[in-house]
């Protein structure tokens, strides 16, 4: 964590506050199905009011973890504590936790209203109060016009809202969302992400969301846990995950990245010098890592942090790689350049198209120089 400590505004970061008690605590949770270990010894604290993402490729155990929180699966080992009380053996229908299913799981024989009221009816809440709470939450998700419809008469986006309303109406201590936006098209998904954030902020309920979409996790989360093969690789804020990944896996999973191999050639005051045959130069980087001289390291470089230029830098101390433009991808807002280095390695860089020139100065087979500041590179060990 590279907290600069210069902020005047107070940040809401309960996970950095030793006084704060975690809302949900996972202690050494393991889940095995036969020989297969779906979740492997995970310990995790989630705080009240967080929008926490479990992010990973399919089969990484994120959904199993969520289902254990909901009570559909029991951990083979370890403990799940909700507000300090052990959830072992508590069936799903007794947990103060609600889940929004990937398939939405709306009851097809009930109208929108009765679907939403279902959870409240189970708790034997008086009729008047049920009606009032259902109305409130229908208004919250903007479905007032569709209250009497059946699920099959709704669009995908509307169904998603019903599922959300049904899970929210019980005012759970924690809301679990399993790929909540997976079935929506791209535009609607982006819009719904912000709506989810607004709703979460308004209600202050802890949200735990499972997703394989890194963009979605980055947009909505307070913190992200990146998972792989049943383990958590890194837990951090979206910003930290992107700028300070702790491994090549995380760096590669979140966003695009160029990975360059090298060896530590010098450990200086606040900087590392790395000799890299692949890049054809010595790289200076400020990001510290406990690596002795001679250790093999990897430097992760985000495409947008590289500056592409036709001219070699005047100063020899600047990090610089030379190569030939191999491919150009014009995306409108960005142009993507694939540069083939002299070593044969392919480096991707992205440049924002700030002007409306249709003639870009750099074209195929141009000799170009990629430069970056010592801050931009991330040094990763094995």
């Amino acid at each position: 964590m590279a907290a600069s400590g210069q902020e005047v505004r107070k940040k809401w970061e309960p996970w950095n506050d030793p006084q704060e008690k975690p809302h949900v605590q996972l202690v050494g949770v393991t889940k095995r199905f036969g020989d297969f270990t779906a979740v492997d010894n995970i310990s995790l604290d989630i705080y009240k009011g967080e929008f926490f993402s479990l992010l990973g490729p399919s089969g990484c155990g994120k959904t199993t973890l969520l289902r254990m929180l909901a009570g559909f699966e029991q951990p083979s080992q370890g403990q799940i504590l909700l507000e300090g009380s052990d959830m072992a053996g508590v069936p799903p229908y007794r947990r103060p936790v609600n889940m929004m299913f990937q398939s939405y799981a709306l009851f097809p024989h009930m109208s929108v209203e009765t679907n939403i009221a279902f959870g409240l009816k189970q708790d034997k809440i008086p009729k008047g109060e049920i009606a009032q709470r259902v109305d409130e939450v229908i208004e919250l998700v903007e479905l007032s016009a569709f209250a009497k419809r059946k699920p099959h008469q709704l669009s995908g986006g509307q169904r998603q809202r019903v599922a959300l309303a049904r899970a929210l109406v019980k005012k759970p201590k924690m809301l679990l969302l399993d790929e909540p936006l997976g079935a929506l098209d791209k535009k609607l998904r982006a819009q719904t992400q912000f709506e989810l954030m607004n709703i979460q902020e308004k209600l202050g309920i802890t949200f735990v969301i499972v997703t394989h979409d890194q963009e979605e996790a980055m947009t909505v989360s307070t913190r992200i846990a990146v998972m792989d093969h049943g383990r958590i690789v890194q837990v951090a804020t979206p910003n930290e995950i992107y700028e300070y990944p702790n491994s090549r896996y995380v760096a590669g999973f979140i966003g695009d990245v160029n990975i360059i191999e090298g060896r530590v050639s010098e450990v200086g005051e606040g900087y590392l010098a790395i000799a890299s045959e692949q890049s054809g130069c010595s790289i200076r980087t400020r990001h510290a890592l406990d690596a002795p001289v001679g250790a093999a390291v990897w430097i992760a470089l985000r495409p947008e942090k590289l500056v592409i230029s036709m001219d070699a830098p005047a100063d020899t101390r600047t990090n610089c790689m030379a190569g030939e433009v191999w491919d150009i991808g014009y995306l409108g807002n960005l142009s993507i350049y694939h540069v083939k280095l002299d070593s044969g390695a392919m480096i991707t860089t992205a440049q924002t198209n700030r002007t409306r020139d249709t003639d870009r100065p750099i074209t195929w087979e141009d000799r170009v120089y990629l430069t970056w500041t010592p801050d931009a590179g991330i040094v990763l060990g094995q």
Binding site: A70, P92, Y93, R94, N98, F101, S103, A105, F118, Q122
Partner: protein
């Protein structure tokens, strides 16, 4: 060599193309063209084309024609016979329409048969008893069939096909033989009594054979597959996450069965009940073989009137009333469902 020479002479692609449009094997168009060579088909298709009926219209009309020919027409014949009078003749009833003085058609509608059905309590009791027996049997079949179908959908996927086969398997043996087999099980010295006596559960053999209980057993056994199959079809479609969602919202498993599973499978329940109730109502083999002399069912009555008494008009009237008993509630139910869909 020769072959090659020929190929180069004719433009191969074009040649193939023009011939393939003439008779594409497997397409209706090609088939139609080939059949055109046969005179009867050509005349028929010309007649149809000439009358302005399209092939599409003919296709849509086919099921209606089928119903008209094999359902409505026989029904009208039965209806006609039911209004005629019993006669010792060949066929054994009087004509409904008669020419008088070569210019009038005289219609004699004989309502006596229906009047008899109304006045003679035997028929009323037979109808009511049939409804009772068919109703109770349907309920029993539902009670047995629902857990069976539910269990099948919960079984591991690779077992389901085998379980379905087991449900259908009895159909491979004659229905009559299976009913006779039940006689062997239920009679006084039958397998059931033997088993219970040897186990010491009873010391006197039970009288099951020739009672209403035997009829219930026979009907439930015979029509169980008709109950299980639609139930299985509707339960299998159900998404398991619905039950998880119900549990998540605070619903206990037992309650979620009644609030989620059962209402979702209601169409299967209704279809299964109709499929059992309708044939059971007119059933005559099972009450005849397994039931006693006191088991009154309309199917048996109809059989006796038709074959023993050779009273075609009366038995036709019995059949018409039986049909009405069945059709009226079904139509009413469908009307109700349509209303549901609109709402």
């Amino acid at each position: 060599m020769n072959q090659k020479h020929q190929d180069t002479k004719a433009p191969a692609v074009e040649y193939l193309d023009s011939s393939s449009t003439d008779s594409v094997p497997g397409t209706l168009e090609g088939f139609h063209k080939q059949l055109q060579l046969l005179p009867p088909y050509r005349w028929l298709s010309q007649a149809i084309a000439g009358s302005g009926i399209s092939a599409r219209g003919l296709l849509i009309a086919t099921p209606y024609l089928w119903l008209l020919l094999f359902f409505l027409a026989p029904f009208l014949i039965v209806l006609k016979i039911s209004f005629s009078e019993y006669a010792i003749a060949q066929p054994p009833y009087t004509a409904l329409f008669e020419w008088v003085d070569d210019i009038y058609i005289q219609v004699k509608l004989n309502l006596e048969n229906y009047q008899l059905l109304y006045e003679d309590s035997l028929y009323w009791r037979a109808y009511l008893n049939s409804v009772k027996i068919a109703g109770i049997s349907t309920l029993l079949a539902l009670l047995v069939g629902y857990p069976l179908a539910y269990g099948m959908t919960r079984a591991p996927r690779h077992w389901r096909l085998a379980l379905l086969m087991l449900v259908i398997l009895p159909f491979w043996t004659s229905f009559l033989i299976r009913v006779y087999a039940w006689i062997g099980i239920l009679k006084k010295e039958g397998l059931l009594n033997l088993l219970l006596l040897n186990l010491g559960v009873i010391d006197q053999p039970l009288t099951v054979m020739n009672t209403d209980i035997a009829v219930y057993i026979g009907i439930v056994y015979s029509y169980l597959p008709f109950m299980v199959l639609p139930l299985y079809a509707s339960l299998e479609k159900m998404d398991d996450s619905l039950l998880e969602a119900a549990a998540d919202l605070g619903c206990r498993p037992i309650k979620s069965f009644w609030q989620i599973t059962f209402p979702i499978s209601i169409h299967g329940v209704i279809a299964g009940c109709f499929l059992v109730f309708i044939p059971a109502l007119g059933e005559f083999v099972i009450p005849d073989l397994l039931g006693g002399s006191g088991t009154l069912m309309i199917g048996k009555t109809l059989w006796a009137e038709f074959f023993s008494n050779r009273d075609w008009p009366l038995s036709s009237a019995v059949a018409v009333v039986l049909l009405l008993i069945l059709v009226v509630p079904i139509v009413a139910f469908q009307k109700m469902q349509e209303k549901d869909k609109v709402a």
